[in-house]
């Protein structure tokens, strides 16, 4: 990462506003009764945008060095791997049939 941090405070306020608006939007959508099966995807999709904004701006991934990016992405990769194997196992047991 560059020394010292060069992110302008304006970026923080911008990120704050984006995440706050998405928070209100996400909660508002929980009162909607006609979204059907898309509901969880929409809620988590919004959460992913919020988290991406948080990590890139507030956690200074923007402007971070390669090792920091590699570390962050490796964490994401191993969490994804854990989900992939475990959820695949659960979804193929056909538990509901019993």
């Amino acid at each position: 990462m560059a020394e010292p941090i060069h992110t302008k405070p304006g970026s923080y306020y911008g990120a704050f506003v984006v995440i706050a608006i998405l928070t209100i939007l996400n909660i508002s959508l929980s009162f909607s009764t006609n979204m059907g099966a898309i509901r969880p995807y929409l809620h988590f999709g919004i959460a992913i945008v919020q988290v991406a904004t948080l990590t890139v701006i507030f956690m200074h991934l923007r402007g971070a060095d390669g090792m920091t990016w590699l570390t962050a992405l490796s964490g994401l990769f191993f969490v994804a791997l854990m989900f992939l194997f475990i959820i695949t196992d659960f979804l193929t047991r056909h538990y509901a049939a019993y």
Binding site: P4, I5, F31, T33, Q50, F58, T68, M82, I87
Partner: protein, 237 residues
């Protein structure tokens, strides 16, 4: 600072085993990121277990989620988000040597975090009052078909109160772990606050704030996923 470092003419914050202050700071940042990866895997395990059970019992989990207080969750989200902003601004205050501004930004951050915990405590109390605590006080009749808000729903007879209890156990364990992490974060911030009060955090020591802020943002990150997973799983009225 070690006397060894001083004898080599290093800046006062440079530990003797680093060549430059930039190298030391990069290493400290990387160390915290490594720690956060282990934390991501820790919480990832809890979210994974939750996801597996929600896939199996979607209606039971949605019925439990509908009973949670989404307004408190929303207010808490904004409290935590604001604390993320103030601790980030505190990094800049420390870099610029504005000790008074740093002190007040840390004060506000801690107050916002404590407010979150206060709201959470009130929410847990409300959950108890509404008999939503399995093993302690749980009203199964809330989840019987006749008392649900939409008795004509085609899948209503598939709701099993025992599975709803499981949802609430996930709710208490996941939010409880999050609260535990918040308490640790507040403890570290109080330590920084005391150092700032004594004027011990100067321009060269801004990284203390930055490293702590990384942890604090991660706590915020986990909360941003807890809200859709637990609070927004069901429809609210």
């Amino acid at each position: 600072m070690s006397s060894h470092a001083a004898s080599h003419g290093h800046p006062s914050v440079l530990a003797h085993h680093f060549d430059t202050i930039e190298q030391q700071r990069s290493t400290m940042r990387l160390g915290m990121w490594m720690f956060l990866v282990t934390e991501a895997l820790f919480f990832g395990g809890a979210f994974c277990a939750y996801a597996a059970n929600r896939v199996w019992y979607p209606r039971d989990f949605e019925a439990g989620s509908s009973q949670l207080n989404v307004f408190i969750a929303g207010i808490n989200s904004l409290l935590l988000l604001t604390s993320s902003l103030t601790i980030t601004l505190a990094i800049h205050a420390a870099q610029e040597g504005k000790k008074s501004k740093l002190f007040w930004l840390l004060t506000v951050t801690i107050l916002l975090a404590v407010s979150f915990l206060g709201m959470k405590a009130y929410e847990y109390y409300s959950d108890y009052e509404e008999a939503l605590v399995p093993g302690l006080r749980f009203d199964e009749s809330k989840f019987m078909p006749a008392t649900l808000p939409s008795p004509d729903a085609p899948t209503i007879n598939q709701i099993n109160p025992d599975r709803v209890k499981m949802f609430f156990m996930f709710y208490y364990i996941m939010t409880g772990l999050h609260v535990l992490h918040m308490i640790v974060g507040i403890g570290v911030m109080v330590w920084l606050w005391l150092k700032a009060y004594r004027g011990e955090i100067h321009e060269q020591k801004f990284l203390l704030i930055e490293i702590t802020s990384l942890y604090w943002h991660f706590v915020d990150l986990v909360w941003l996923f807890i809200v859709p997973a637990l609070y927004l799983a069901g429809i609210h009225h």
